[in-house]
């Protein structure tokens, strides 16, 4: 029984490693969605320009019609460049969790058969 549990545990661990590897491999493939690459410093530091504009008294381009009480940045409702396809990622995690649940179910039924030395 211990051997079976060990094999299942190893399978889960391997699946997790492969899955994480795959996740990060995609992230480094040049069109990743990591903030490091997609969000440029000048874009990120919008608050900076807003503040500078406020300090110099110039019109705040991010405010509502020059209302300096509202900074932030403008959300534009233009369509997104694309939607992600993360089915493989979800499938990978589903597999890991499925294997975990399976191994737990096997252990549970085995414990029941053996009379159980469970707590709680």
């Amino acid at each position: 029984m211990k051997f079976n549990a060990l094999i299942l545990f190893a399978a889960i661990l391997l699946a997790l490693l492969f899955n994480l590897g795959a996740a990060f491999a995609v992230d480094h493939s040049g069109h990743n969605m990591s903030g490091r690459d997609t969000v440029q410093p000048e874009e990120k530091l919008q608050g900076a320009s807003t503040d500078e504009q406020q300090m110099t008294g110039s019109k705040n381009e991010y405010s509502n019609q020059g209302n300096s009480a509202h900074d932030g940045h403008v959300f534009q409702g233009s369509p997104d460049s694309g939607k992600a396809d993360n089915w493989p990622l979800l499938g990978g995690f589903g597999l890991i969790n499925g294997l975990t649940l399976l191994s737990a179910a096997i252990l549970k039924s085995k414990s029941k058969k053996e009379g159980g030395s469970q707590v709680g």
């Binding site: 889960i12 997790l16 994480l20 996740a23 990060f24 995609v26 992230d27 990743n32 969605m33 990591s34 903030g35 490091r36 690459d37 997609t38 969000v39 410093p41 990120k44 530091l45 919008q46 608050g47 900076a48 320009s49 807003t50 503040d51 406020q54 991010y62 405010s63 509502n64 300096s68 009480a69 509202h70 900074d71 932030g72 940045h73 403008v74 959300f75 534009q76 409702g77 997104d80 460049s81 694309g82 939607k83 992600a84 993360n86 990622l89 979800l90 995690f93 890991i96 969790n97 975990t100 649940l101 191994s103 737990a104 179910a105 252990l107 549970k108 414990s111 469970q118 707590v119 709680g120």
Partner: protein, 445 residues
């Protein structure tokens, strides 16, 4: 003695009812499912993704406030906790918690917190729907594993990184759950811990009779339902009061307190022009052109400096109170928690108030409604003012906590002499926070 909120019939009835806390769990599971779906299959730009907006602009900034006002109640209704309960119901083996987890769980939490912050800057989590999804799925995997094999909410108590944070912040919170000593002393059944036909035993392994902290209690109400003696009291207390009388200080909990300070600094610095300059300086100094490497060096320095500063304060206090630096570190590290909370809230207040409408816009987009406009609900100057007020309050509470800790543990002239190095450190950390908040900050989305 503070007023028992459960004396009010309506609240007691509600907490003892079968609807509590399920009535809150159901919506959080629904929203969480929608968030994960959006993270995985929604727009790939974080600023347009409902999942990232909900998680990092709404939930993450609000959660420290929830800990302050309601203790760890979030943990009772957290979707991961619900997942853990379901897994246990289906396939749970209910094995005892491994000893190493009981002993080193908080170190795992400390390490996980540091690792997640580091990974956020290296791989992208907050600003990446995919990265956020990977984080949530990894957490779900841990929850499923813990729920499959171990009893009660092992994950929540011993492994959840947010649980470590919420534990620390709840100590500074205003809610306190305890058993009435005179009633508990006569109790033979201990249904609060063991459970009854009305509810399961405490999922967080707490025994209200012996509780002297709210760091682990998630206010799930199971003990209220099960107690045959009507012994459980829920009362209001002064913020940070629990920290004044820590009986068994733990080095790792104080370490987490100072680590959180470092993390808030990192989160602030990386959103400032100053951060970019520091990064460039580091690259010039070390000759490292790789972002991950140079960031890691900056990260280690930024994380180590507050820890080192606390250690130096502990050494200085040791000169007057005769205790070792490590003991003073463990004892007085708790005094930083109010300032941690203030810094964390202050940093996130910017994202909450300057970006909150992103949640509305991205939510509307789910239904095909195109909206545009400013994401802020108040101006930057107002946010700054609120941040300074928060830091001011946090500094006062932390400084007073340092004094009360000294008063609880030392006598005579040792009280002031022990507290002064830590009050000095608290003031320095507060000034750093104020300086950082005074810089123009970038948005998350």
């Amino acid at each position: 003695m503070a007023k028992d909120l459960l004396k009010s019939g309506k609240l007691k009835t509600f907490v003892a009812s079968k609807w509590f806390p399920g009535i809150f769990q159901f919506p959080t599971v629904l929203i969480f499912t929608a968030v994960v779906f959006e993270l995985l299959f929604g727009p790939s730009s974080p600023g347009r993704n409902f999942g990232t907006a909900m998680t990092w602009v709404l939930w993450w900034p609000v959660i420290p406030l929830v800990f302050l006002l309601l203790g760890r109640f979030w943990c009772a209704v957290c979707p991961f906790a619900t997942l853990s309960d379901l897994v246990q119901k289906w396939v749970g083996n209910n094995r005892p918690v491994p000893v190493f987890l009981k002993k080193y769980g908080i170190w795992i939490i400390d390490a996980a917190f540091i690792l997640i912050t580091w990974a956020d800057h290296i791989f992208g989590i907050v600003e990446s729907p995919r990265g956020s999804a990977v984080l949530l799925l990894l957490l779900a995997t841990g929850v499923v594993a813990a729920g499959s094999f171990y009893e009660r909410r092992t994950w929540c108590r011993y492994l959840c990184f947010l649980g470590g944070l919420s534990g620390n912040y709840s100590r500074a919170g205003i809610l306190e759950l305890r058993g009435a000593p005179e009633k508990c002393a006569k109790c033979k059944v201990q249904a609060c811990f063991k459970g009854s036909d009305k509810a399961a035993g405490c999922p967080m392994f707490e025994f209200p009779r012996a509780m002297d902290s709210n760091a682990k209690c998630n206010l799930c109400g199971n003990c209220v339902k099960s107690c045959p003696n009507d012994s459980i009291r829920l009362s209001l207390r002064l913020p940070s009061k629990e920290l004044w009388f820590i009986k068994k200080p733990k080095f790792e909990e104080s370490f987490l307190a100072i680590v959180i300070m470092g993390i808030v600094f990192i989160q602030n610095i990386t959103m400032l022009e100053l951060g970019a300059k520091a990064q460039n300086y580091m690259e010039d100094l070390t000759g490292i052109n790789s972002y991950p490497l140079s960031f890691t060096v900056t990260f280690v320095i930024a994380m180590a400096l507050p820890v080192l500063a606390l250690y130096i304060s502990s050494r200085a206090a040791g000169l007057s109170n005769g205790e070792s630096a490590l003991k003073n570190f463990a004892l007085f590290g708790y005094a930083l928690i109010p300032l941690d909370l203030a810094g964390h809230l202050g940093h996130n207040l910017f994202h909450l108030l300057a970006e909150i409408k992103t949640v509305v816009y991205t939510g509307a987009a789910l239904f095909g409604i195109s909206a545009q406009g400013s994401t802020a609900i108040v101006g930057n100057e107002t946010i700054k003012l609120l941040q300074f007020v928060l830091i001011g309050l946090g500094t006062l509470l932390s400084a007073y906590t340092a004094y009360r800790i000294a008063k609880s543990n030392f006598n005579g002239g040792k009280i002031t002499a022990s507290a002064v190095p830590f009050i000095g450190l608290i003031i320095i950390l507060a000034l750093v926070n104020i300086y950082l908040f005074n810089q123009p900050m970038g948005h998350r989305m």
